[in-house]
């Protein structure tokens, strides 16, 4: 029993990290109908920025988190302004290629600056608790806690504030939003920044949990989070989270029940089956007439 509970904790931890990244994909897809494949690299930059920050001045976790989110958020907005806005009306393939290219550029800039994997300093004293054979660390609690907090804040913002209302409206019809006199570009920049900031927060938390930081750390997890966002219904925030927790628990479950060799095979086959029955993702809706 405690073995199962331990694996459930593992799944929640994995799912919450996937979730924070998946939100970024979904937010950007929501307002622009484009996949920002550089998102995994913004995640990586979040970890790197925090590492650099801590090298210069050791800051407490909350301050480091805020600063990282702020700086990487601005970088995300800058990326949108410089790379994506000029090709917004180009064919979709160009947008995909541009985002893949931006990702590679970010990766290689980091690689040029630091070819070696770096060790992430711990930002607080980690203690480990054991209850009846279940092990949980204060780090795990903090990581899961911060992730859930950010997810709830985003959900409240999207559902209950004027800004969230505009973001939802943008997802429906961008032209109509500007016809209502709302500066759509500014909102898009802001949404990009928001997605990047969440990705950076995930990167930071990830680097704290698995304290090796390298320029390629965002690739595999970026794809996994992207898959989670698609499974949940891309463009739908709650869907992204649902997809992330499904992916995390499928991975852990397949290791628990079968030899770990089959993890990815089982996990992704299951996800494909979900897509066969729900082609727009679990909470996604088929696109109705847009413009």
């Amino acid at each position: 029993m405690d073995y199962i509970i331990q694996q459930v904790i593992n799944a929640i931890q994995l799912g919450s990290i996937y979730g924070l990244i998946a939100l970024g994909y979904s937010l950007v897809y929501g307002v622009l109908s484009m996949m920002n494949f550089a998102h995994g690299d913004l995640f990586m930059l979040g970890a790197f920025f925090c590492l650099l920050l801590e090298k210069i001045i050791p800051l407490p976790l909350w301050l480091a988190l805020l600063l990282t989110m702020l700086v990487i958020g601005c970088l995300g907005a800058l990326l949108e302004r410089l790379a994506y806005r000029p090709i917004r009306h180009a064919p979709k393939v160009s947008a995909i290629i541009t985002s893949l290219g931006c990702g590679l550029i970010l990766e290689n800039i980091t690689l040029a600056m630091s070819p070696y994997p770096r060790h992430m300093p711990t930002l607080f004293q980690n203690s480990i608790f054991h209850f009846h054979g279940i092990t949980i660390s204060s780090l795990q609690i903090i990581v899961i806690g911060i992730s859930l907090l950010l997810m709830i804040l985003l959900d409240v913002m999207i559902r209950c504030t004027t800004l969230g209302m505009v973001i939802r409206a943008l997802a429906w019809n961008r032209l109509m939003v500007s016809l209502l006199g709302i500066p759509a570009n500014r909102i898009i920049s802001f949404t990009f920044a928001l997605g990047a900031a969440l990705g950076a927060a995930a990167g930071l938390l990830y680097a704290l949990t698995y304290p090796v930081v390298s320029s390629s750390m965002g690739i595999a997890i970026g794809w996994k989070a992207f898959i989670a966002a698609v499974i949940g219904g891309i463009g739908n925030m709650r869907g992204a989270l649902l997809g992330a927790f499904i992916l995390g628990s499928t991975e852990v479950m397949s290791i628990t029940m079968l030899p770990s060799t089959y993890r990815d095979l089982i996990a992704y086959s299951l996800l494909l089956i979900i897509l066969i029955f729900k082609p727009y993702g679990i909470l996604g809706e088929p696109p109705t007439q847009k413009i």
Partner: protein, 263 residues
């Protein structure tokens, strides 16, 4: 034939407007004026360029040549959001509501033009003061009341009946506090009684909000009930203008509607 109901300077002047799509001339040397508080009907066969004219006026597309003066200021190069801020709002032939947002939110998002300056400000604003939001919600409810859709305020806009969706779209345009309302076939898909209700409602709105209107419509009765004057477009050119009575007897209008056979 220059007809203005009062000797006031016009609020909107369109002069020698042209729009080409590739080789297609959709609007050709179009000129007309609109007086304050006037309601101007626009009719014409399909493909006459009526919706193109609205797209030009609302800044969705740019004219190939010509000028659009709004209170003597050139606006033909402005973006659609700038034009909204100057006081020109519109509705669409095919309804464009935010269907997954609630009815109330569809109105409030239009009020947003007065609330939101930058996203960050908006975020802080909503976090700090709920006062303004309350106000906008209240104003939105009042507007819904005018259009008698208050009871549907929290339904998703997509679930409304066709007639209600049309009314909501007009209400949303009004929430922008426009001085000129561009209505693209507002009565399309409505039954007779809904149509007369809408005519009455628009008459009342025009008086209450002191708003001018440009109106594309196929139902002559609708035009008759609302418009002081009507323009007739055919293949992008203005072929006639005047009261409905005058137009009805215009030879070119009859030709345009019935074909060249009539001489």
């Amino acid at each position: 034939m220059d007809f203005t109901p009062e000797k006031q300077s016009p609020i909107l002047e369109v002069s020698l407007l042209n729009k080409n799509f590739g080789g297609m001339r959709t609007i050709i040397d179009l000129s007309f004026e609109l007086a304050p508080k006037e309601c101007l009907g626009i009719i014409g066969p399909n493909g006459a360029g009526k919706t193109t004219l609205f797209n030009l006026l609302s800044g969705i597309i740019r004219p190939s040549s010509g000028k659009i003066l709004w209170f003597h200021q050139e606006i033909q190069k402005k973006s659609s959001s700038e034009i909204v801020h100057l006081g020109i709002a519109r509705t669409f032939q095919n309804i464009r509501l935010f269907k997954q947002l609630s009815v109330l939110e569809n109105i409030r998002i239009a009020y947003d033009i007065h609330l939101t300056y930058t996203p960050l400000q908006a975020l802080l604003r909503t976090a700090l003061t709920r006062e303004e939001e309350k106000k906008s919600a209240q104003a939105a409810m009042e507007l819904l009341d005018v259009f008698s859709i208050t009871s549907l305020a929290h339904q998703p806009a997509g679930s409304l009946s066709y007639g209600d969706q049309r009314r909501l779209e007009i209400a949303r345009a009004l929430a922008l506090h426009p001085r000129l309302l561009l209505l693209d076939e507002p009565a399309a898909g409505m039954n007779e009684s809904e149509m007369y209700q809408l005519v009455e409602l628009l008459q009342w709105i025009q008086k209450k909000f002191h708003v001018s209107m440009l109106l594309i419509e196929h139902h002559m009765a609708f035009i008759n009930g609302l418009c002081d004057r009507t323009l007739v477009l055919d293949f992008g050119t203005l072929i006639a203008q005047g009261t409905l009575e005058e137009i009805r007897h215009d030879r070119r209008v009859i030709e345009a509607y019935l074909g060249e056979a009539v001489t």
